[in-house]
Amino acid sequence: MSAADEVSQFERNARLVLEESVRRIDARTRSRLNQARHAALEAAGTRRRAWWSGLTLMPAAGAVTAALLVAFVLWQRAPQLAPPATLEAQHAAIEDVDLLTDNDAIDLMEGWDGSFYEWAAAQSDGNGESNG
């Protein structure tokens, strides 16, 4: 028999003896181990329930979040339904008001002589060029 076989045989015998020593563990110790096991299982169940109870709050939290999200979206979209006047439109409105309140400007608009003003502008440009 080789040394390796002897070691293996020794290990097998040692294992048998160890298993026998486990079988000989007394009833009181077995009972206490049994109680310890049930306590551990109960602890695992309690922990799992705690996790589940946290999960049961999820629908309520989800509903609140959804409501907040909807409110936020509505708040963001509300100004787009009635867009603010642009800067150009505001300026145009101010100029219209000035025209309506300024009598000279109204006379000028009524007596508008486009050809005269075009001739005057051409003259003015011609003088500027000859002077320059």
């Binding site: 070691v7 020794f10 026998e20 020593s21 079988r23 007394d26 110790t29 096991r37 922990r47 799992r48």
Partner: protein, 195 residues
Amino acid sequence: MPAALHGDVDLSDPEAKTQTRALNQFLAGVELKAFKIAQAALRHEDDALDAVQDAMLQLARAYAGRPAQEWKPLFYRILENRIRDMQRRRTVRGRIMAWLPARADDEDDDYDPIAQAASGEPQPVRRLELDEAVGALDAALRKLPPRQQQAFLLRALEGLDVAETALAMGCSEGSVKTHYFRAVQALRAQLGELL
């Protein structure tokens, strides 16, 4: 009132029920061997029971959700840590107690011969042989260094392979092989005639 309000497992959840059953089966399968390993390391029955109970609780609380095949090395890793903690605490306590007057050992206080009766019933001659072998192996195991003792018990008694033993002991597979080989050599030197 909900069925699972007073610490019972929620039986309405089939997955939880299956997991609880698997965990119960696992713990029932390891508890006696774990006790034997803890007893060999701590040499005290109540301390060994406490260590096993703590390991069961921690496994159930922290690792019950892990795959079942991971439970065994994790459980023995937890048990090993617990044993080391208790040994460390015992060393400190021993230093303190050395300064106090001697007192009777509390192990004898609640000795119950009926409860201490062995649960198996082998034949008388075989029983005598086994008595001798069990006693000799227990004594030889106690003489082993802790790491060798642990490696030997995890491999020979619990049947963990080298990788699982390494995980349980928190060391490399090479270290496990070395500890185990030395343990077998030492035990063989002491018990070769008997086993």
